[in-house]
């Protein structure tokens, strides 16, 4: 069971302080949503956890500071799905998903049976079996998102960070991806997803972290975090918030003019 602890985490890029004093303790089995307006520091938080940007304070995975872990060790512990779907070479889907096994391989070793099994499982879970021989750069946005997710699942890491996994997906594919992330959490992984769709965040996430201007505004259940007051303060909107019953929804009504 992994546990991710953030204590007083801050990030300064150039002269701009992007994150300050973030405290959170996240445990396995949870689907954690990170929400907040554009430029709030959500992606920077994800990148700081992956030690892709230098940070202050402490980010520890099971008590060990992430920035001191060897790269392959961190890669085996936390799978990272970056924002956007950068693909520089036209690899086949199977080959692309196979990249997820890199952290498990020595410098000259080939993919073994365990790797092949992990790739197969990831392909089936992300429902991309019929795409396996296609060239990934020629897929539609929705197909590509699922393939990228399969690549992250193939790592078989106990934690997964997905930066805007729903961007540019239609409602059907959004539900597919969120189902898969929740399923991953139910199987015992810690899943952190940066999200913009507040209704999706409310319906799927066990816990939400609301960030604005680099500061932690609220941390708790969707009911606690997605209050009309918070939404007005952070997003500057009036929203109709319905958290009752099985299908919570947040409908933005209009800009709030302060």
């Amino acid at each position: 069971m992994v546990m991710l602890t953030l204590r007083g985490v801050g990030v300064t890029l150039g002269r701009r302080t992007v994150l300050r004093d973030i405290d959170a303790s996240l445990t396995a089995g949870m689907l954690v949503g990170v929400v907040g307006p554009n430029g709030a520091g959500k992606s920077t938080l994800a990148r700081a956890i992956m030690a892709l940007v230098p940070s202050r304070g402490e980010i520890a995975l099971d008590g060990r500071t992430v920035s001191t872990l060897r790269r392959p060790d961190l890669a085996r512990q936390i799978a990272y799905l970056p924002q956007g779907q950068t693909l520089h070479w036209p690899l086949t889907v199977e080959r692309l998903v196979g990249l997820g096994r890199l952290p498990h391989l020595g410098p000259m070793s080939r993919l073994g049976d365990a790797d092949a099994a992990a790739i197969e499982t990831a392909i089936l879970r992300a429902d991309v079996a019929d795409l396996r021989h296609r060239v990934a750069t020629q897929l539609s946005g929705g197909e590509r998102a699922r393939v990228m997710l399969a690549r992250a699942l193939a790592i078989e890491a106990p934690a997964l960070i997905a930066d805007e996994p729903l961007a540019s997906l239609d409602p059907g594919h959004q539900i597919d991806v969120m189902d898969l992330l929740r399923d991953q959490a139910r199987q015992g992984a810690l899943v952190i997803a940066v999200l913009h769709d507040l209704t999706m965040a409310a319906r799927y996430c066990d816990r939400l972290i609301l960030i604005d201007e680099g500061r932690l505004i609220a941390d708790g259940s969707p009911q606690q975090v997605l209050t009309p007051d918070h939404l007005a303060m952070v997003y500057g909107i009036d929203a109709r918030v319905d958290m009752e019953g099985a299908w919570p929804s947040i409908i933005p009504m209009g800009r709030r003019h302060l």
């Binding site: 992956m50 890669a75 990272y80 990249l99 997820g100 890199l102």
Partner: protein
């Protein structure tokens, strides 16, 4: 599926090795003096007449082996740089070390050191390439980004080319300038085993350093963050790439002069025959580069011209159709 992939790869490597062997044999067979096959075979077997032996061992064998080694280095370096920089137009000269090696050689010609000893020119070329590597490290710093590397490479290349222009400009007479120009066109003519022994260690080091990072190059398909998050130490990858290219290509240019386009076009010729992942084209590009450069060097000897055609000229002409093909594909005309 895995077996099928492996078989395809073996077929490709086998085919390229065969092509390379045929090219090498052709290179032994063809030259200014026509030698019949049976005399060459006799000389290779250890007997035969002394003229054949001299031509074969002092001229054609070193020339052939150098062609293979230089071609392999240029092909591999091109494949490796295209993968690392994620740019299909990258080639061995982007880091500036081949221009720097050329500047060292031009310096040897300009100041007359080249006349002191046959190996003075390649030695100065390699020295200059190593100096440029120090400059490259200084300029590119410790960052992991590929853009800083390209910018630093352009700075080094521009400086070296300015130095070459200066040497041409200040040449005391047209013959001295002509000597420099001729060397810059690139050739494997009249190279001895001494040239081979000076280039081969550099090329061997270069090949080992560049072959190492196939997997990191694959991971870079996902961008720099994506690769680091998959456990790739980009800083070390970049270090190996810089050292391998500088030492290997520096050594190659030192004996052959600047031979363009091999490093650029070979990866493009190989890529469609593989699954297009950067690691899959490394070794085939080395074999393909060796074959293509040796074949070009045969063409140099076969095309009838009053003075021998220079190798760099032939490879430049080879580059044009490949570029056009790429352009057409980009414009989706087929």
């Amino acid at each position: 599926m895995m077996i099928h992939n492996l078989r395809g790869r073996m077929l490709l490597l086998g085919g390229l090795t065969l092509l390379m062997a045929v090219a090498a044999f052709g290179s032994l067979l063809l030259g200014a003096v026509p030698l019949p096959l049976h005399r060459i075979l006799a000389a290779l077997a250890g007997h035969g007449d002394s003229v054949t032996r001299t031509i074969l061992f002092d001229l054609r064998i070193p020339r052939t082996l150098l062609g293979l080694a230089v071609g392999a280095m240029l092909g591999l370096s091109g494949a490796s740089l295209q993968g690392f920089l994620r740019n299909p137009l990258a080639e061995p000269s982007v880091l500036g070390t081949s221009s720097a090696a050329a500047l060292g050689a031009v310096g040897a010609l300009y100041f007359g050191f080249a006349q002191l000893h046959a190996l003075m020119l390649p030695a100065m070329a390699i020295g200059s390439a190593c100096l440029s590597l120090v400059l490259l490290f200084f300029l590119a710093g410790r960052s992991e980004s590929s853009l800083t590397l390209i910018l630093a490479g352009i700075a080094v290349a521009t400086l070296a080319q300015a130095g070459i222009s200066l040497a041409l400009n200040l040449s005391p007479n047209p013959f001295a300038a002509m000597e420099i120009m001729t060397w810059l066109l690139g050739s494997l003519e009249n190279r001895s085993f001494d040239h081979l022994w000076i280039a081969l260690p550099c090329i061997a080091i270069g090949i080992v350093l560049l072959i190492w990072d196939g997997r990191a190059l694959d991971a870079l398909t996902l961008g720099e963050d994506g690769a680091i998050a998959l456990g790739v130490d980009l800083r070390r990858t970049r270090l190996r790439l810089m050292l391998g290219t500088a030492i290997g290509v520096g050594g190659a240019v030192a004996v052959s002069g600047t031979i363009g386009f091999i490093g650029l076009i070979v990866p493009h010729l190989i890529r469609p025959l593989t699954d297009r992942s950067p690691s899959a084209i490394l070794l085939p590009s080395a074999l393909g580069g060796a074959a293509l450069l040796t074949l070009s060097d045969i063409a140099v000897r076969l095309i009838p011209t009053t003075s021998e055609l220079k190798l760099g000229v032939v490879t430049a002409f080879l580059g044009i159709p490949i570029f056009l093909l790429h352009l057409l594909r980009e414009r989706r005309l087929w």
